[in-house]
Symmetry: C2
Subunit: 708 residues, 2 copies
């Protein structure tokens, strides 16, 4: 079975390579276009390689720390899967491997996306369909690499340990470090990328549009290339790392829960998460390949068709996986013979939840509906009412997703309970998470579609293509904005489910170590304080992420002002601005500013756990509350930040389409304020919170033995 998983992972990687080759072989347009595209490419690669160097050095330090803690500090427990030094070795190895795979997947995804942008731009000149396909397949490379690498990593580690003779029931506990490695990279990738993209955006806008009065994406603006680079490093590399982490952590968490049901499903219960994910990869590949659209069709409709096909195939795959792997021997366990069907239904719930999140996100962020319209209307009385209306929409939009999550958790839990397999309720919620993440590769392809088309639009704009071509890239770009917003909804929904699964796994792990943690009793003062501190971390982290954007943008503003002042020819259009220096400055600024929020996110849970362990003797329970209440606060805050940002963005677009005075009116100016405020919300703090939620889970999973 594990060989099948590895085979499908390898096939998906090969298929991604094929797609990458296909993309690279497309036409690359005019010299002018290539010049711009090359500048973006250089900037993105420079940022990513510097960022990776930073992350790798942090990760290496942490790896040493983990090894030391496990090998020498911690008191060995008789429940350890392997002896202390071995345990330290495997945990550290898994951590390093998880970090490495995440870095590689992110790098390759971006390698293609910064090549697909110009090819999309070039293709759109002749055919919208061709442009759509290049952008989506370019995005698919990222999607497939992320999901397949995470699967291959977990599956490969499992196979390796298995072949070395480890007890399969203990392997999941030995490789939890993989998920932590992935989270660790994801946190910094998302933070660094998110700070970069918005610092460049806000900086370019404030000096360019507001002070110098030149339009957006104008080649005279020294920060314009940095802005285009930002789309790649934030949306593409950042979100890739985010979903890499989701799938990796979910795989391991679900395997740990599978261990608990070993008497019923045997090995197959442990491997089921991997097989289900592998089938999801195949479904995504089919979905990606069938997407095409007519010249006059809404490209979003074409992408939606692909998504429906992927979802349908994922359901079918899930059906067969559940039926073949979760069949219980009716003789040994009477009453549980149709358990597999209950779990199949749990998977369907997960897939349905993904759909529901997509719809809710659209309702709150598209200008067809009341919320965005109310913000546009409020902009008539100025920026203050625009902000107040946006805040109200953002706070309100948390209600429906929370209801959906609540229903999904309760329904899958009770289906699991009713399956006839005792104590399978939590496994039911795990299966729902698998269902939700089944379509991850397709969703990620749609997400990376966003920066590719955004860049294509920028290249077309800056190289002065005819109006008609611009209109086509604008259509693709608008679709890209929608898919980016949807992915964020999907990412937070899956983070919520994955987190729930992961803290179930944490409790299983604690139980495995024979601790007495029977409940996480929030009525105890210590535990309540743990929860309070967890929620506080979410607020503090958001503050630091938002402030980091402001600080990094400040560097950009100063540099652009300097260039304008020292070289007046730039604004007259006679001298080319120094794009590279701006790119450099944002790079350095973003990497510098990501350190503080990143470090607080990593060290606060550890500190809380260790303090409560040593002073009050109840680290595990306090950390569990820290994690759970922190997750609740994180889900709500991320929804608030993502959706208010998206709504402000589209309220501005709605006005630009001619409503309430259109572009250039006072109402539009007010809407621009909201859009700018929303930038760090939706592209820095919000997405970083997705990662934070999962990081809290994986960090506690890995360090659980320290708190006992």
């Amino acid at each position: 079975m594990i060989l099948l998983v590895i085979a499908i992972s390898c096939f998906s990687l090969l298929f991604a390579v094929y797609l990458a080759r296909w993309v690279v072989q497309r036409d690359v347009g005019t010299d002018k276009m290539q010049e711009i595209s090359n500048a973006i490419k250089e900037g993105a690669e420079a940022f990513l390689s510097r960022q990776n160097r930073t992350i790798v050095s942090f990760a290496a330090a942490l790896a040493v720390l983990i090894f030391v803690l496990y090998a020498f500090v911690r008191t060995p427990s008789p429940a350890d899967p392997v002896p202390p030094v071995q345990m330290a070795f495997w945990t550290t190895l898994a951590f390093v491997l998880g970090a490495l795979c995440s870095v590689i997947a992110g790098y390759i995804g971006m390698w293609v996306s910064i090549r697909a942008n110009i090819r999309t731009a070039s293709a759109v000149r002749s055919s919208l369909n061709e442009g759509l396909r290049i952008a989506l397949r370019g995005g698919a490379v990222s999607g497939l690499f992320v999901v397949a690498m995470s699967l291959l990593g977990v599956g490969g580690l499992y196979a390796l340990l298995n072949s070395l003779g480890h007890d399969p029931q203990k392997i999941p506990f030995t490789i939890v470090g993989y998920g932590f490695g992935a989270s660790f990279v994801a946190l910094f990738a998302q933070l660094g990328g998110g700070i970069y993209t918005k610092a460049a955006d806000v900086g370019a806008d404030l000096v360019g549009k507001v002070e110098a009065g030149i339009p957006e994406d104008d080649p005279r603006n020294p920060a314009v290339i940095a802005d285009l680079v930002g789309d790649n490093v934030g949306d593409c590399a950042g979100r890739g790392a985010d979903l890499f982490e989701s799938t990796a952590a979910e795989n391991i968490g679900a395997m740990i829960l599978g261990v608990g049901l070993y008497p019923f499903f045997g090995l197959q219960g442990i491997l089921f998460p991997l097989v289900a994910r592998a089938f999801g990869l195949i479904a995504s590949i089919v979905g990606i390949m069938i997407v095409k659209c007519d010249e006059n069709e809404d490209p979003m409709a074409a992408l939606n068709r692909g998504y429906y096909v992927t979802s349908a195939l994922a359901i079918v795959g899930f059906f067969f996986a559940a039926r073949s792997m979760l069949a219980v021997d009716p003789a040994a366990h009477p009453g549980a013979e149709s358990a597999w069907f209950y779990f199949f239904l749990c998977g369907v719930i997960g897939i349905a939840m993904a759909q529901a999140f997509v719809y809710i996100t659209q309702y709150y962020t598209e200008y067809k509906y009341r919320p965005v319209k109310s913000i546009a209307e409020a902009s008539q009385t100025g920026p203050a009412t625009n902000i107040i209306a946006g805040m109200a929409v953002g706070l309100e939009c948390t209600a429906l997703p929370v209801l959906v999550i609540s229903v999904a958790i309760m329904a899958s839990y009770y289906l699991g309970k009713l399956s006839g397999v005792p104590h399978a309720g939590l496994f039911g919620t795990a299966v729902a998470t698998m269902g939700m993440l089944g379509t991850a590769a397709y969703i990620l392809a749609m997400d990376t579609f966003g920066p590719i088309t955004d860049n294509a639009g920028g290249i077309i704009e800056m190289s002065g293509q005819p109006e008609e071509v611009r209109r086509k890239t604008d259509r693709l770009d608008a679709v890209g904005n929608t898919t980016k917003a949807l992915t964020k909804g999907y990412a937070i929904g899956s983070a919520a489910l994955a987190a729930f699964l992961l803290f179930s796994a944490y409790l299983d792990e604690v139980a495995h170590y024979g601790s007495k943690l029977e409940s996480v009793n929030i009525a105890k003062p210590e535990v309540f304080v743990g929860g309070l501190l967890g929620a506080m971390l979410v607020f503090l982290f958001s503050a630091l992420a938002i402030r980091a954007v402001g600080k990094a943008a400040y560097y950009v503003i100063n540099e652009v002002r300097r260039q304008f002042k020292e070289n007046p020819g730039i604004l007259q259009g006679t001298v080319k601005p120094d794009y590279a220096r701006c790119v450099d400055i944002v790079t350095v600024g973003a990497l510098k500013e990501m350190v503080l929020p990143g470090m607080i996110a990593v060290f606060m849970p550890v500190t809380v756990g260790v303090i409560f362990r040593f002073f009050f003797g109840m680290g595990a329970e306090v950390v569990a509350a820290f994690l759970m209440v922190g997750t609740i606060a994180g889900i709500l805050m991320a929804l608030f930040l993502n959706n208010s940002g998206g709504a402000w963005d589209n309220a501005k677009k709605f006005i630009e389409m001619g409503q309430y005075g259109g572009k250039g009116s006072e109402t539009h100016k007010a809407a621009v304020v909201g859009d700018t405020v929303g930038d760090p919300f939706k592209d820095t703090a919000g997405p970083s919170l997705h990662v934070l939620i999962k990081l809290l889970s994986t960090i506690t999973l890995v360090l659980a033995p320290l708190f006992l």
Copy 2:
């Protein structure tokens, strides 16, 4: 002992009447001043009487519902303190009494404050000290009435039931309705008042300052009286109801915890909270009476002196109360002979926590310190960066208060545990809450000082007094702004502690009913979902409160526009605008818009409890998580909203003092945007959340028997 409590309450009420008479006997200034003051008085009284009518009718409906639920729907339990119909009668009576006392205390407080404003204005013309004393003593009427009425209500109910022969150990469970009645009134008073004050403020500013270009508080603005009325109904009546609820709920909650320690302290443990509160009243009276200042002194220093004296006396009172009432018989309980001293220390922790909150609030909202300065600096690049900086400050400012709350809870809990009395940990946290609320009357006097001096400033401004007098009222007004901000910090801190105490009481109550609720295990999916929904309510409620301000402001804007258009003489200053109509419109608008958020806050916890009770058989535990996680989210959100609003306000004031271009500059315009955004945050949604937190507790306390 109970007689002493009742005697001190009555004495405090008489003293308040004396202060009110003293205030009313002061000089009332010129005819012009009286004309303005009368308009404010009429508007405020009209609003309050209509609001009270609305609240009373809601409360009456709810009272009937409570009676029916208790008497006929609920299955009687053998643990009921009295038979079902009697229990229904007492619970309903307590609810009605709580609601009524809150309404009366709020009404009388405002009755004085709308009379103290003009007398303060008149006095300032000759002496700053005299103005300060009138404003503070006017505020003290409100403070003393609120605290004494709540004490008298609880003490009186206890005495009544005791004289009817009820078992003293069961009385606290019979009168929990009193706290719920107080919360219910507080919710609507704070919501209605908060919406009123900010709708009038935002509406007046947007049409007056922005559209018509006339200064703030200009008599030509038809909404200017409504704005001045708003200060009274929001800050004075609203916050009064808020702290009435805190003290009432805390009294009952602490009595319930006292019941649990009956074997050690006997009756005295149950009555201790009332006695401690009574001593606090005396300390506050002394503190209020000693306040006076020199003409050239900072009035804040004078108020602080009074506060220090009050705190010191409260500590002394606490010492004697603890020593005389919490003395354990050393023969019967060896090892617990110095328990009283541990509890005294818990009280000191509460008083210290109040101080800490005051300092932290000052740090985040005064322009002497980094946070406000950073917002002012960010305003240079426009409204967007002003908002981003303010959001970052608001999110960040949650960290320190949470640490303080955590330390206070843990320290008082462990002091209680170490006292030698078994299971007294939670009683320790209750005693800390008593300590914190000991100075409530003085704090409330300082709070009501705010709207009185604000109004005095408006009266001086509108009646065209000389510049020199204005400068004096401006000084008092600035102090009033500070005290308003501090009270909010104090209110949220005490709400957090009181909530923790109340859910301990809830668990005691559930245990009293013999249920098996041994833990609130958030690791169970149902309980986790309960917590998630509780946190969601906080976000949704904030959204609705903020939106309500926008809607009500919209009515004002339309009315002011109509008056300007239909009667051009208004803007020329030849015709007096129709102030009364504006007051009317805000009144109707605010009362209409408060219904939806209020209803959701009341019915959501009940719905969640009933659904989980009937479908999953675990209502009590789910509601407990709803309450606790909702409280955590509420504390953080309220801190965020209050302090970001305060910081924006003072960033604007800092710029108006001449920084970064001063008044009228682009930087100032950007700062005005932040100030306007902060208005509904700090004066509507934030303070309403204090009440929501406690309402959740009291509602679950009263309806707990329904969820079992």
